[in-house]
Amino acid sequence: MTTSERIGALDVARIRRDFPILDRKVYGQPLVYFDNAATSQKPRQVIEALTHYYETSNANIHRAVHLLGEEATAEYEGVREKVSRFINAPSPECIVFTRNTSESINLVAYAWGRANVSAGDEIVVTVMEHHSNFVPWQQLAQETGAKLVVIGVKEDQTLDLDDGLSSYLSERTKIVAITHANNTVGTINPVKELAAEAHRAGALVLVDAAQSVPHMPVDVQDLDCDFLAFSAHKMLGPTGVGVLYARRELLAEMPPFLTGGEMISKVTIDETTWNGIPAKFEAGTPNIADVVAFGAAIDYLSDLGMQNVREHEKEITEYALRRLKQLESITIYGPEDIDVHGGVISFNYPGVHPHDVGTIVDRQGVAIRSGHGCNQPLMRSLDISGVARASFYVYNTAAEVDVFIDALGDVGDRFNG
């Protein structure tokens, strides 16, 4: 027996010791946390960075002449640089801090959308979008009289692109808003190819990277997207911090989303001139402490290496899929090809509602998600009301998958006798 259970790419036993919450029990059982697509757990390093900031450097940023203010500003701006390097943005100026992915996408839909989309224009989304990347565009279309064009999915829940993205584009297409990795069925979309095709048609591209940046290497210059959004809380960081990456020219041209303190250059009674980018998009005191702690999360993931994170998740997902398929008559959603399937597995037990599945495994310490996963349009296209979903991260092990599979056996025993 080795001292660590190394599933290939990561030293999981060592990683697990960094996560205090993994010490707790749920109903007397060791916690098996498989709800990572909703939010991840946080390592000690991130929790300590948060307390350390409050204990040593807390001050408001940007406007203070005192030392604490200077330190806080340096730490906050330092994380902007880290984020910029993490996704290979051309400059930290292209990074705007928000509260979460939803706010990042709303920022674009409001600030860019209201200035650039008008009646008769077209907005392209997919049926597999999280409500966060669906509702803002649907509302923009309704408000402006633009048309919402929705790309469907095929039997295996990959995008229906048999006739090419161009079949969904016209000269009126202003933006294509598309998820990089889906949060329910796990499909990874070919966003780089789609971005190239959209650009050839003169449309911009927004990538919802809430489920990709935490789980795989993402390079915004390689993808060549115009906007990209993600959340700190899904990648070991604290809640309350989101990121919007945008091309510099777009940020420079766009009007602000929220106005007030910090985002101005000069205010008179009659008019206001805006601050430069990215400050123009960060009105008011931002979530300084959580941004600082987010820096520790990025360090942690950078140390692991995002390719290793992806490899680890691939192995555990493959293993879980193999074990799930052995269960009788279970329906598993999402692509078969693991290269286009992220660390998320959705499934249904015939004749058992996903909430009953969730309740039964919960009492054995296994936390999964049940329901529509904020993917109601996709659920409707599959003609189901919801799924049970297990989603993995760097601290999960094959042994935990075994516990989960055992717990699922209990579901079968109870419902199917």
Partner: protein
């Protein structure tokens, strides 16, 4: 059932982690018992074979109940004749608790005077809130008491009853 497998599985993780990963057997049994009380045979039977499933051709009132948290949905058709619930039909979709609760409800209220049905609604909701005062009056419905140990599922159990209450209001004014 799976306790031994669980211990074996966990044993392959490092010795350092073994202490915190050991499972509490007494607690495990307790949880199994609570699940047994939640998923009683009578509840599963109503889930698999729902009573009064469908719709009425000429209902006095229809009402739709929806639980946005779970996506549970119940649609009730009620027929009221001379102050008595003379017929009822239910349809919808959702978890075993919401669907079986609706099915059990239809069985006990058909043929009952509105006043008694209202009393039953009050007793059932009181039971789901933790009261044991009216258990006798509730008869078979007492099986639903197991849901109280699962606070997030209580709404599933009460959905049909809230919907019924609204349907009766509608019936009164029609």
């Amino acid at each position: 059932m799976c306790l031994s497998t669980r211990l074996v599985t966990w044993a392959i993780v490092s010795t350092d982690d073994r202490r915190r990963m050991s499972s509490d057997k007494a607690e495990y049994k307790r949880q199994e018992t609570e699940l047994d009380e939640l998923y009683q045979e009578i509840i599963l039977d109503h889930y698999r074979n729902p009573r009064h499933k469908g719709r009425l051709s000429a209902p006095t009132a229809s009402e739709e109940g929806y639980n946005p948290l779970c996506g549970d949905e119940i649609i009730l058709d009620v027929e009221v004749t001379d102050g008595v619930v003379s017929d009822i039909a239910q349809r919808g979709s959702g978890c075993s608790i919401s669907q079986s609760s609706a099915s059990m409800m239809t069985e006990v209220i058909v043929g009952e005077p509105i006043a008694d049905v209202k009393g039953l609604i009050a007793s059932f909701t009181a039971m789901m809130r933790g009261s044991d005062d009216d258990l006798e009056e509730l008869g078979d419905l007492e099986a639903m008491a197991g849901v109280r140990k699962f606070p997030v599922r209580v709404k599933c159990a009460t959905l049909a009853w809230h919907t019924l209450s609204q349907a009766l209001e509608k019936a009164k004014s029609s």
